[in-house]
């Protein structure tokens, strides 16, 4: 049994305006897992992710995080959230810079990260010169550059067109296979969660609660052709059924 990286027990969160975002969430994520959190819009998925990251405190419940996690989390937001005044290179350098790494020392790592995301020739471009998909790639490169123990993604591809989205799904899956970091990926897309992850937890409408925890039994290596296989469609159907139950 692999070691548990982060565990939430009976987690609840209400905001100051009285809205309850999460009611009672139990979720344990093991090292090396790729977990999808699936649920309707506004079900508290993002809130759960922010609690896992330590950006928001839960109102009730317990959160246990492995010791090496404290300052080693990557986060990708719904928007690319880049600094518009900084080049691609400087945006990816930011997490290393905040940890005190010099430019020269960080350069090889940043160069390799940009290459692996197909951003090599855009190192000195500014975010406004890039397409939405490229900006999201920069955002992912920035999150991965610290080699995080845990990578949290909050519907990162929701605003992209489907062609770009499929492509980035394939790339993210490949990156996970290469780096083997632990990923929690929040989405409201059944197809996306099935394609990407090894395990899907389904949440109810607000206040969110986890009602299903499903393994995704698909081959490890995945590419575009997987989307056409009956096996993929079958898993999507099963997950959709669970989601429908959760929404009822």
């Amino acid at each position: 049994m692999p070691e548990t990286l982060v565990a939430a027990a009976a987690l609840a969160k209400s905001f100051r305006n009285g809205i309850a975002a999460l009611s009672s969430v139990d979720l344990a994520v093991s090292r090396g897992e790729f977990v999808g959190v699936l649920g309707p819009s506004g079900c508290g998925k993002s809130t759960l992710l922010r609690i896992l990251a330590g950006l928001t405190e839960p109102t009730a419940g317990r959160l246990e995080r492995s010791g090496d996690l404290a300052d080693n989390i990557g986060f990708v937001f719904q928007e690319p959230t880049l600094m518009p005044w900084a080049t691609v290179w400087d945006n990816v350098y930011l997490p290393l810079r905040l940890r005190g790494a010099g430019r020269a020392a960080a350069a090889p790592r940043i160069g390799a990260m940009l290459e692996s995301l197909g951003l090599g020739e855009f190192a000195f471009a500014y975010p406004r010169q890039l397409s939405g998909g490229m900006r999201m790639r920069v955002s992912i490169a920035r999150a991965l550059v610290t080699e995080p123990a845990l990578l949290l993604l909050d519907e990162p591809f929701a605003a992209l067109d489907e062609i770009t989205r499929f492509k980035l799904n394939e790339e993210l899956r490949a990156l996970w296979q290469m780096h083997r970091c632990t990923i929690v990926f929040v989405t409201h897309s059944v197809f996306e969660s099935v394609f990407l992850t090894n395990r899907i937890v389904v949440m109810t409408k607000r206040p969110g609660r986890i009602v299903a925890d499903l393994p995704v039994n698909l081959p490890e290596a995945r590419n575009a052709s997987l989307r056409l296989t009956p096996l993929y469609v079958e898993v999507c159907r099963a997950v959709s059924a669970k989601l429908a139950e959760a929404m009822a």
Binding site: F75, W85, A86, L94
Partner: protein
């Protein structure tokens, strides 16, 4: 596009020439005496003959303006940074900054002149009071409007307050600071002139305001207009320089400074 550009240059010039021609015509037609309204040609001539001595006065006014703008940037900027670091400081001090802003400078100028007991210093203080509020207000707003997700990201990576200030809040505030600076540039000039009107200095170093007053007393209306003309020219130049600076600093990333894409 090309015709548009031509219109942008030619349009104002034609309007200006028409106004000058109408002015000349009206003065000539109604035989208005030069001590009420001189002809444009007379003003141009005065500008030529009195130019050197007016320029010396302009330099005095300009020195106060630039010094006041520099102090306003330093004071307004520092205060804005302090505000952004502590909400308590902001809510405690901001009302007084507003009071300073809404008090007409002419009404406190006499007090300042008495207290400062030095002409340059008192004019500098008056002009600074007028100029510093837009910088303070805009920079404070800019520092507080950094992208919330980026603020979270900085927190996630354990950035300190000063790191967040330097790498995130200050760059975020730059466009608004520069907008404030452009307003303050004009206000510093106005403040310097208004304060000098109140102070009504004599002595060796007189600014343009004193020259306007003095010309008014002597009914040398042409010289008054010449000095006014120099003042507007200075105001326009300050605005142009600060606009250029703003475009230059923001050209890579801010919408306001981008070239049209087609």
């Amino acid at each position: 596009m090309n015709g548009n550009r031509l219109a942008r240059i030619l349009g104002p010039i034609i309007v200006g020439l028409l106004v000058i021609a109408a002015w000349h015509g009206i003065v000539w037609w109604f035989a208005i005496p030069p001590y009420v309204l001189p002809k444009p040609g007379v003003i141009a001539q005065t500008l030529w003959t009195d130019g050197p001595s007016l320029m010396a006065s302009l330099l005095v006014t300009l020195r106060i303006t630039v010094a006041a703008l520099a102090v306003a940037v330093l004071l307004g900027g520092t205060l804005a940074v302090l505000f952004s670091l502590s909400k308590t400081i902001e809510v405690s001090f901001f009302p007084y900054a507003v009071i300073l802003q809404v008090t007409p400078v002419v009404s406190i100028a006499p007090l300042i002149i008495i207290w400062a007991n030095d002409v340059f210093l008192s004019l500098l203080i008056c002009a600074t009071i007028v100029a510093f509020f837009p910088i303070l207000a805009n920079t404070t707003l800019g520092l507080n409007s950094a992208d919330r997700n980026l603020v979270d990201l900085f927190r996630l990576y354990g950035a300190g307050r000063l790191q967040t200030l330097r790498l995130l809040r200050l760059p975020s505030a730059l466009p608004l600071f520069l907008a404030g600076l452009r307003i303050s540039g004009g206000l510093a000039l106005i403040g310097a002139v208004v304060a000098e009107f109140v102070a009504g200095t004599g002595g060796a170093e007189t600014g343009l305001a004193s020259r306007i007053l003095e010309a008014g007393y002597r009914l040398e209306i042409a010289r008054m207009f010449a000095a006014l003309f120099l003042l507007s020219l200075t105001g326009i130049a300050i605005f142009a320089v600060l606009s250029w600076l703003s475009r230059r600093l923001l050209r890579h990333w801010h919408e306001s400074a981008l070239e049209p894409s087609d």
